[in-house]
């Protein structure tokens, strides 16, 4: 039982990170129907900013996180303005290819700027106690990460559902043209969405670095694709869906690693994809998605 609990907590932690990144995917998708393949790489940039804020400028961790969120948000908006905005009216596949190119651009630019040698993120967990569960231990930072992620998601939900701007975002994602006709500044809303999504990715990066304290230019690729799967699992374009999808994916992954016998451990990677396929077949629009309207 304690084994299960430990593995469950492991899953919750990585799931919280997936969920935060997935939110960025889902919000951008909800508004402009673009799968922003560069989103994982924005997280990578956020990690670098946090690293420099912490090690070079000597800021405390919460300020470093804030700097990283602001910096990444600005970058997200700039990328949208330069690379995606000109393609707003073009086929969405063109925008998708652009997003892939932006992802390549960010990776390679960071590699040139910071070299491909990994950098070690300073440990913030050194003075924190660990909790024993059975004969394994879990660091308190794990619980802090999960709590911070959930708190942020609650704030985001309140923002989207209760504030005027948040409601404007919902309106734009519902029908961009109608929202425009109603006097909503669509360009501003799109920029805001990119800013929030990118800031969340930066925050995810900081949480990620608590447990996996290493930064390199390609670190965003894997969490990026996993978070994307999480967003689809929950129903892409739906904010609570991304949260549920993220946690679910983290737990499934952790359980697969925990309970699939060693001899078959190679196929654990496939489990995530199998679950994705099953969910899509049973409920094509994702767990929390509304059925798609099909018009002639």
């Amino acid at each position: 039982m304690t084994y299960f609990i430990t593995q469950f907590i492991n899953g919750l932690q990585i799931g919280a990170i997936y969920a935060l990144i997935a939110l960025g995917y889902t919000m951008v998708y909800g508004i402009i129907k673009l799968i922003n393949f560069a989103h994982g790489d924005l997280m990578m940039v956020g990690a670098y900013i946090a690293f420099f804020a912490l090690s070079n400028w000597g800021l405390p961790i919460y300020l470093a996180a804030a700097v990283s969120m602001v910096g990444t948000a600005i970058l997200g908006v700039v990328i949208d303005r330069i690379a995606y905005k000109p393609l707003r009216d073009a086929s969405r596949l063109s925008a998708l290819i652009t997003a892939i190119a932006v992802s390549l651009l960010l990776q390679n630019a960071c590699m040139l700027l910071f070299s491909s040698s990994p950098r070690r993120f300073p440990t913030v967990t050194a003075n924190l106690p660990t909790i024993s569960i059975g004969n394994s231990t879990v660091n308190v930072i794990v619980f802090i990460s999960i709590a911070l992620a959930i708190a942020l998601m609650i704030i985001l939900n309140l923002f989207v559902n209760k504030t005027r701007i948040g409601k404007a975002m919902l309106a734009v994602s519902e029908d961009m043209r109608a929202a425009q006709l109603m006097g909503i500044n669509v360009d501003f809303i799109v920029s805001l969405t990119f800013a929030i999504g990118s800031a969340l990715a930066a925050f995810a990066a900081v949480l990620y670095l608590f447990s996996y304290p290493q930064i390199e230019p390609y670190m965003g690729a894997m969490p990026g694709i996993k978070a994307f799967i999480a967003a689809v699992l929950g129903g892409i374009g739906i904010i609570p869906g991304a949260m549920v999808g993220g946690f679910l994916l983290g737990i499934i992954e952790s359980m697969a690693k925990a309970y699939i016998p060693s001899a078959f451990s190679q196929v654990t990677d496939a489990v995530v994809f199998l679950v994705l396929i099953l969910v899509l077949l049973i409920k094509p629009s994702g767990l929390m998605g509304k059925p798609e309207k099909v018009k002639v």
Partner: protein
Amino acid sequence: MNMKQAFKKVMAVSMAAAFAVISLAACSKSSSSSSDEIVIGGLAPLTGSVSLYGKATTNGAQLAFKEINAAGGINGKQIKYVVLDEKGDAQEAITAYNRLRDQEKMVALLGDVTSTPSLAVAQRAVQDNIPMLTPTSTDAQVTLTGDNVFRICFIDPDQGTTMAKYASEKLGAKTAAIISNASDTYSVGLTKAFTEEAEALGLTITASETYGKDDKDFKSQLTKIQQTNPDVLYCPDYYETDILILSQAKEVGLNIPILGGDGWDGILNVTEEGNPQEADGVYFTNHFSESDTSEKVQNFIAAYKEEYDEDPVSFSALGYDAAYMLAEAIKNANSTDSDAITSALQSISYEGVTGSISFDENGDPIKPILIIKVDGGEYTVADKMEIER
């Protein structure tokens, strides 16, 4: 035509112009060599997810060629070392190889860095009879491709077998667990050799867990391993992944000696600032030791730090030695003829940073294998073992 369309046209024209300029620039750069130069081709991943190893290897080789050229080159001729990026991909490696052969007219090839591209290139190097020396490709198959293919690193079975033996005989381990990268040929190769030898020696493998490319979260696997209470953990991967496994193993309360291969060399470059003791208790098989007091090793480390402002890793040392060996072979052959270089390599005996190296009939190196123990934040030599093939 409105303004927007006019703008688009201007852009299209200027982009076409940009393309033309790029092509010209690219062509002018690949001018063929003059006769007082010897061209050595290099293949390495300089971009992409394995660029870390490619950079370290070419840095080592570049340093060596710089030293050789400064000392007068080979028989009065300067060496031109042309490295092309292959992103760690076999397909790119093949076109880059063809380019080195046809455009650059290389006389010998230094590379590739990782095993799969090396296998792809070796097949062609054998066809074209171009001497090839790979510093770091560990897959046993690479040198079996032909007589003109050599390597200076250990092959996968060497390291796995030696470490299993060391764990059983010197560390007194009765049980071992393994965590390896299922998508990496090096990791899989070492795991296979370790498992076979361990079972032959009566060690019980309690768990053999795997992870995928780019995974950073190993806590689930480590927790699972921890339940089986092994004496040692074998973890054959490269240092930037190893450090994460190391710290997560501690996090889940798995405090047993961790064993690895030469990929662990460099682990002290990635430990936390001010806490090099983090990696204490790790044992790994390696070619050389940074604590070696011999002049050769210390000079290399000093020169490398001076040039690149970072500590060398095993990749850099192997790149450095491979470059010197190729230069020496060309010097001994006193010609740039392929057959002459190949036979010079076959009979070479070279004292390098990574040991005194000569080649066996396959083109694999005969050199002792060091067991390095990280102790007090430093690499120390725990043992020196002979390779049995």
